[in-house]
Symmetry: C2
Subunit: 440 residues, 2 copies
């Protein structure tokens, strides 16, 4: 009875797994060199966790389940609520700043689309306990550091940056009512993703006053920070918020990210919980969904029953990233190839058990070694050694009967040398574990 | 509003994450050097997948859920059904033998106990397409290779080995009816885990004939392969099966695992799907549950709608292993410590932005570098560099104003030297990425 995989999920055969490991390994390396420590939580949480942050209606987009006691659980669609729970649990003992990263497996019960699957992996980095824009800049740096490392240049990607606080203050000062703000953010977030008429309708629904709507439209056309002060009379709060964005851009220049970053009034992020600087990373061509995004969320920990803590973070999924890297021809050539340190080949069947012994001895020394389960002619074994990308082929034959010697063939140069069995093992022991260890 | 984690799951704070990564990293290294390739599947599968292998009633032990279309899904409690599905999907194109490993996150809706949680990680290795006992021996070798690498000796652990096929043939030849076999295996599997009276009752239920029951009890007392032939008249099939176990032990000797492995008639494994050699790894003291176990399952692929394929494999969870390593004091000392390649310290506030710039330059070169978000006195920064386990502290001060020089302090020796800024960056560029990369 043949059963298909669940729609919107992926099977990772070895070739796909190499790709996933390479992406996740790169995320982890970038996180560690940027001073972040890894954490993770369970893949199931109480459903309420996600409703606290995203409202009751989020349940329809989640995989929900019940445990034996009838408690409502859900598969995590994001890790931020778990982060808030974990930090709150130990809020008095965790040294600050908290610089954590995670690469959770996430699930959402939505219709699968290009770059948006039901099961995916997402890189998350967060800095908790730092109010300074330096933390926001560092988050952006870490994200770009990774993307640059895998070969994406400022011609390929762009970080669009704005500030929820700044936009909020300006919107207030041009007459948007407090109660209209959240709806307006949601509309603005959709602006570049829907037809102009659809946006008009959303805007009309979000803001009652027509004059205010005109001003909002005008504001969205602003192309630089400097224009804002010229075009709009700013409150003190708005000026402070503009100053923060200015300092952020100054820091991004110091970090040599100037080419990658632009100010973009239209970047507001859909989620209600952002409170300050927000940003999204896009492919320059704009063919794909956002590669990642994030921002400051200073009120989240309070929402989850803890004290207020300043926080800023970022998330990047594996699906859009993989499409982008593939489009830019940056994927295949960077994936590590399988390779063996040693392929062990008995020259005749009588040496088969000795080949098994030697292979296992080499593995015990931490070296990647393999052999064929059935005795094959030596030529076929050498072909296999080459196919398996072995650095050396160790041949056990007459030299072993005669004087306990092995013939070691360097597969790159083709050169062979005879080595005493024990001496060969000592050499193998002295050498550090092969590149296989790193390939993980 | 504070919400607890789901019972039976774990939060991995950075310290716990280091441990989990170290265990999983070791599993992966052992798999790769033994010639296995990694695969993975989705964490959700159609519920039927698990029922095919384990019966309808397995649903009560799983986290079940429904998708929007009303299909019954379940969180995977094991990965073998996924393995069978994936292999069957490409059975004609996958080169054989298939030597695959995986480290899936698994969930089961059971009462949490010591060493048995609701969410856990499990190392799985499988060889598909090889009938020879060499494959079974290699699976056992790979498992022990890992355990030996983390410091467990033959005094700590033991591999108990038997054969379902052999026991089956002997049981048939001493009069157990075909229909009684599965129930009897389940009883025998429980033998060492329940009181003798409880076992008696299970045995009575499983086997109708009292004389046969006596012979079964006698069989279970057998301590070596040699005794079997002496005590019981064996059919030709039984003799063949005994021969296979003999060859397995011969191979295990060649692989130098003799000290770790014993023949144990009582090891039959509870699951119905095993068809040949079976084994379990236990702590010698017997204080814990089995550390892992596996065996041959030649009929599984047919069950999942594919052609019959010989297969053998092994699984090891992270919970019991961690307890065992902790008990043996093998855990803490082997965990990698956080370390930085560079801690960048401005000697006065005027060099703060320069410190940010240098830190980011170093990170861009693949080096682990950090600094403090706020300017601190140099003494405090040096203390922090030491606390963070930095190899070097790079001080930016008057030497920089005077002649663009940095002061580089080796944190191990305490020695300082002045280096030109550009030259320092070139040095950092030339060196390979620091040990952080391996720590992952």
């Amino acid at each position: 009875m043949k059963i298909p995989p669940v729609k919107g999920t992926r099977d990772f055969y070895p070739a796909e797994m190499v790709c996933r490991n390479w992406i996740i390994g790169g995320w982890k390396s970038a996180s560690v060199r940027n001073g972040f420590q890894e954490y993770d939580g369970p893949i199931i949480e109480h459903l309420r966790m996600f409703q606290i942050k995203s409202g009751e209606e989020i349940a329809s987009q989640l995989y929900c389940l019940e445990d034996a006691a009838g408690r409502s659980l859900a598969l995590r669609p994001e890790i931020t609520p778990t982060l808030a729970r974990m930090v709150n649990q130990r809020v008095n003992s965790l040294p600050r700043p908290i610089k954590w990263f995670s690469v959770p497996r996430l699930l959402r019960a939505e219709r699968p689309q290009r770059g948006r699957l039901r099961e995916f992996f997402q890189w998350n980095i967060d800095i908790i306990g730092v109010e300074d824009e330096l933390a926001d800049a560092e988050i952006i740096f870490c994200a770009v550091d990774y993307l640059r490392q895998v070969g994406l240049t400022a011609d390929d990607i762009v970080v669009k940056i704005s500030s929820r606080r700044m936009i909020g203050q300006i919107l207030r000062s041009i007459g948007v009512a407090e109660g209209e703000l959240d709806g307006l953010y949601a509309a603005l977030d959709k602006r570049d993703k829907i037809p102009p008429e659809a946006f008009s309708r959303m805007l009309q629904k979000a803001v009652a006053d027509e004059k205010v709507r005109l001003k909002v439209t005008e504001l969205m056309e602003v192309g630089s920070l400097d224009e804002i002060g010229v075009l709009f009379g700013l409150s003190q709060e708005a000026k402070t918020a503009v100053g923060q964005v200015r300092r952020l851009f100054e820091l991004l220049e110091i970090m040599e990210l100037g080419d990658y970053c632009i100010f973009d009034m239209g970047t507001v992020r859909g989620l209600a919980y952002y409170t300050g600087i927000v940003f999204e990373i896009w492919d320059r061509a704009g063919d794909l969904r956002a590669v990642g995004g994030g921002g400051r969320y200073d009120n989240l920990f309070g929402l989850f029953g803890g004290p207020d803590l300043p926080a800023t973070g970022f998330g990047m999924g594996d699906c859009v990233l993989e499409i982008l890297l593939r489009n830019k021809k940056l994927l295949e050539k960077q994936l590590p190839q399988e390779r063996l340190d040693f392929y062990v080949a008995p020259a005749s069947a009588e040496f088969f058990d000795k080949a098994v012994e030697l292979t296992m001895k080499l593995r015990s020394l931490g070296r990647a070694a393999d052999f064929n389960y059935k005795f094959l002619k030596l030529g076929k074994q050498l072909k296999q050694a080459s196919d398996r990308n072995a650095a050396r082929c160790v041949i056990i034959g007459e030299e072993y009967s005669a004087g306990k010697e092995l013939v070691v063939k360097d597969m790159a140069t083709g050169k062979q040398r005879a080595v005493d069995f024990q001496r060969f093992l000592e050499e193998a022991r002295r050498k550090a574990p092969g590149p296989q260890a790193e390939a993980l």
